[in-house]
Subunit: 229 residues, 2 copies
DNA sequence: GCAAAAGTGTTTCGGGTACACCCATGT
DNA sequence: ACATGGGTGTACCCGAAACACTTTTGC
């Protein structure tokens, strides 16, 4: 089967920067390329956009093929279209950023990848294509966006102690935060649900668990509320 | 001439939301479509991406064809790729936003447009395609970005009185701003150059002119400075 | 009882906001 | 002289930041 057009068309792909969080670092999911170009090098997962799927759907599909996870948070980042960004020819790529609960699954690599693994954002391997640049932009985006939108919760389990939320911000923003001020501000925003559950299996006093209440957040937004760290 | 590919490819276009400022409104440049679909309706200027030009270059080129202006401020906005957004088939469009000094030129329409004109953003005509949505996103973007990046200057003449700068913010943000506080804040940022020139041909005391000093701004950025209205 | 982390208020400081009058210029 | 807009300083208030001790739990 082949397709013919009057004018030449660039190929169109989506690439997806997947962020996860571990105890002490913000991580991204990379795949090791099984085929040329950049065979053996690490890269951001991605693939071609089908004719009958929207860009967001393509990103979600690729991500599911690479990771097995559905229903996650994704957001369009930027579209990269330098003429020479892919040695195989003109390829324009719509980059997405996704946030996942890293503990929920093991990376599984698709056929076009030799391997898939997490890397801390501050110690990345060399990347193929312009993926270094895409990743840098994604990192900037998450750093700034986490401060004024409640997207951090996408990286945590549904139920979490405040300490973990604070640690999340400390890791992403790369600065220490005062515990009392943090709790005060976070709880005052009134978008967290205080649960009657506590951490398990800790060798010290167990912390209370909280849950992000999206409904309450949406409601507060309408009242002119503004999420901010 | 025709081009054949193994897999089908969406067509790729750039669309450009051009903002200008007049005495009392923020405006966008629209063209009236000369051909179907949506013939006779107003739309955002745009066109196909050539194989040997980067996306930004395509946006700049289209813009120059539509308006005759080069060297203006452009910024990528978002990529729109719903399956049915164009009745002619699958067309993915990378949307840009541009800011121009509206007084500097008259709109001139290209061959594919019957007409081109400015419309105040708060009284737009009905638009073809998903251009209403693109425009709404551009409007959101300029509104939020103008508050933390010095892009407003792109809409003003090089030399301007502070009153005009304040009016710009009042128009874009749609709220009144206190004159003394505005001047204090703006001058304290130390990115404006106080000129020894004054307005001409006004029937009252002439205001001093200022100029945005980009070099000083870049330098202050490195010192950890943060532009904000 | 000791190690480890949870949980909790008050004071201080700086920046944002509110606010009104005199001055320069052209007609 | 008057109409029009240019230009200027101070007081208050609120939210951000700094800061240390007691409590709970497991070992």
């Amino acid at each position: 089967m082949s397709y013919t057009y009057e004018h030449p068309r660039p190929a169109l792909t989506v690439d997806c920067v997947v962020f996860g969080l571990s105890d002490c670092s913000l991580n991204v999911l990379l795949i090791q390329r099984a085929n040329p170009p950049f065979q053996g090098q690490w890269a951001i997962p991605g693939g071609f956009v089908d004719m009958d799927e929207a860009l967001d759907d393509a990103a979600r599909r690729e991500l599911q093929e690479e990771t097995g996870i559905k229903n996650l948070f994704i957001e369009q980042l930027y579209t990269f279209g330098s003429v020479d960004r892919d040695p195989r020819g003109r390829v324009v790529s719509v980059a997405y950023m996704a946030l996942v609960r890293q503990a929920d699954y093991r990376p599984q690599h698709a056929d076009d990848a030799a391997d898939a693994d997490w890397f801390a954002v501050d110690s990345l391997p060399e990347l193929g294509f312009d993926h270094q640049q895409i990743l840098a932009m994604a990192h900037d985006r998450i750093r700034s966006k986490v401060q004024y939108q409640p997207i951090g919760f996408e990286l945590l389990p549904r139920k979490f102690p405040l300490r973990d939320l604070q640690r999340l911000y400390e890791i992403i923003l790369d600065r220490e935060i005062d515990k009392r001020n943090f709790r005060k501000k976070m709880l005052n925003m009134d978008v967290l649900e205080e649960l009657d559950e506590f951490e398990q299996n800790v060798s010290h006093r167990a912390a209370r668990l909280y849950r992000f209440n999206r409904r309450k957040y949406q409601q507060r937004l309408k009242e002119g509320f503004h999420f901010e760290i």
